[in-house]
């Protein structure tokens, strides 16, 4: 995976997001306090926001610059927002297969253990279940990169290790690289090879973790 962000500028409410960044690792953490611009950066990568300047390259393809803007549906990114944004009017099955290219993805369903949930409505899921469904939905669309916004938010403390385990299996068994937004250093240590530290819209430090 390669993601290159060059001189991207996006004005936000209290500050301006100004980022240049090059990522090659299988898993990268965007680490920083709440309101540092992490989610906005994910949205720029996913194509949900268009920066006013700069360029974004995904696996060598320019997806955003002054003239080019590839819409989100053609970027092949799997985006799991902080609150999962499961479609409330659809069943778990319909959610999971919404972006699926084929119906035969039982591997992922097994890895994430969402099989037993398929026929439920999404309103009757626990926090951990919701997260797994959201992950399955994103992964089934066969993304080139997964964007995870605070994936442990809303998950019971007791279940956090399980979710981290699922994420590790996605990263390792399915070989989908991921960018992982968090403000918890302990998650970073477990999950990520690379840590990008953000503060008020700017990258202040890039650390290569020993762990991998």
């Amino acid at each position: 995976m390669s993601l290159a962000i060059r001189d991207v500028v996006l004005p936000l409410a209290p500050f301006t997001l100004e980022v240049s960044l090059e990522l090659h690792a299988r898993s990268t953490a965007l680490y920083g306090a709440s309101g540092a611009g992490k989610t906005s950066l994910l949205e720029v990568i996913a194509g949900l926001r268009r920066p006013v300047a700069g360029r974004v390259e995904l696996n060598g393809r320019v997806v955003s610059d002054e003239t080019v803007f590839v819409p989100p549906r053609e970027r092949h990114v799997g985006y799991v927002p902080q609150d999962d944004a499961l479609f409330p009017h659809l069943s778990v099955r319909q959610n999971i297969f919404y972006g699926a290219k084929t119906k035969a993805h039982h591997g992922i369903i097994d890895i994430l253990e969402v099989g037993p949930l398929l026929d439920r409505g999404v309103k009757r899921l626990s926090g951990g279940e919701r997260k797994r469904v959201a992950l399955a939905r994103a992964v089934l669309s066969e993304p080139e990169i997964l964007l995870l916004d605070e994936p442990l938010t809303g998950v019971d403390l007791a279940l956090r290790d399980r979710v981290l385990e699922y994420l590790a299996r996605i990263r390792d068994e399915l070989a989908i690289p991921m960018i992982y937004v968090t403000h918890q250093m302990d998650e970073v240590r477990v999950m990520c090879e690379e840590v990008v530290v953000m503060e008020r819209g700017k990258v202040v430090e890039t650390i290569h973790s020993e762990h991998a």
Partner: protein, 459 residues
Amino acid sequence: MLRWICFALALAPLASAREVRVFAAASLSDALRELAPAYETRTGVRVVFTFGGSSTLARQIEAGAPADLFLSADEEKMNALASRGRIVEETRTSVLSNTLVVVGKDLRVARSVALADPASVPAGIYARKWIESIGQWNAIAPKVIPTENVRGALAAVKSGNVDSAVVYASDVRNEPIAYRVPREEGPPISYPFAVVRGAENEVGARRLLGYLTSREAMRVFAEYGFHGPYRAHGAYRAYRSDRGVLGITLRAAGAATLLILPPGMLVAWLLARFAWRGKSLVETLVALPIVMPPVATGLILLELFGRRGAIGKWLPFDVVFTWRAVVLAMVVMSFPLFVRAARVAFEEVDPRFEQIARTLGARDARVFFTITLPLAARGIVSGMLLAFARAIGEFGATILVAGNIPGRTTTLSLAIYDHVQLGRDAEAFRLVGIAVVIAFAAVWTAEAFLRRSHEPRHP
């Protein structure tokens, strides 16, 4: 209001509207000759009568004679035409009845009795039925001199050529009456009226029919010796009945709601989701019918959709004064309500669901139909119900652009107005009751839909 209707008529002239051709039973001639001038001066429409025996007239109509309206003196002749599809069934109405009288000498002493032909002409058939019922037919039959119609029988007595005649009470002016047949004793005499199918001036015929069944006309008929109807007016039902009116209203309001749906959703969605040049202008235009005087809106529609109107001249069919105009007025008046409700519904859909759907590879159309629309559905249904309710209540624009043609463009609101105008308070209040029930049900259901959509999404 009548002035408004005349104004409307003048603005969108119908080529054949200047003349209505009426085939009427001879017994109605005096009363109709008094009624017609009043109608003509009021509407500018000429009423051309052909009077005769109902059986002759029915035969002529069947053969394709150019009649717009048929006023028959008995139900059977009308039945015959109806069974051949020659009348507009829903306009058939029986509001008049008559009684028989014997003029000249007492039947028992008369040496000759003139009857309208008892084999075919209603007056004669009725007379024979009565004479049979009192057991005198065998005695009188040899003395019968048949005439082409009832006026002929009366003339025969007046001229002294026959001793007596059995005629309608309404025929008699100054002739000596030997016997008045009591209503209970005689056969039920009923005058069915109906618009002729394929009439050149069907609209004119319907309007005239509306006038002939009005209270004003009934007073004139009564002066000429006619009575109210025998039966609880068989077809009066379809003509001015609640069911007929309700059918027209519900069908038109349903059609209007469905027509509003696609463009209404598009406009609501564009207003809810995007900022674009001219947006506030469109917002204002869409809301305009809410605050404009409905009569003004109606006048604009009349201008646009009249036969020579900017839009009307390009259409292959007539709009003004047809059911299409009813639907048109409803569409225009209900559109703003629907757009407002649908816009709010779209605005309440969290755009992040749409964004996520796009990252999952969905095209815009799929996002709209699988995410946006289902999530906004309750608000949209609620908007449809409100639009439907508003359509049912539409009055001001409708009366101008659709007129108030009984059995065709008379909607619930127009019928209430009609009833009040003609002093039929009971009928008016019955329709008001129906209107209240429909409005209540629509608004209550609409609110129920909105309440459920505001339930928290997460347990």
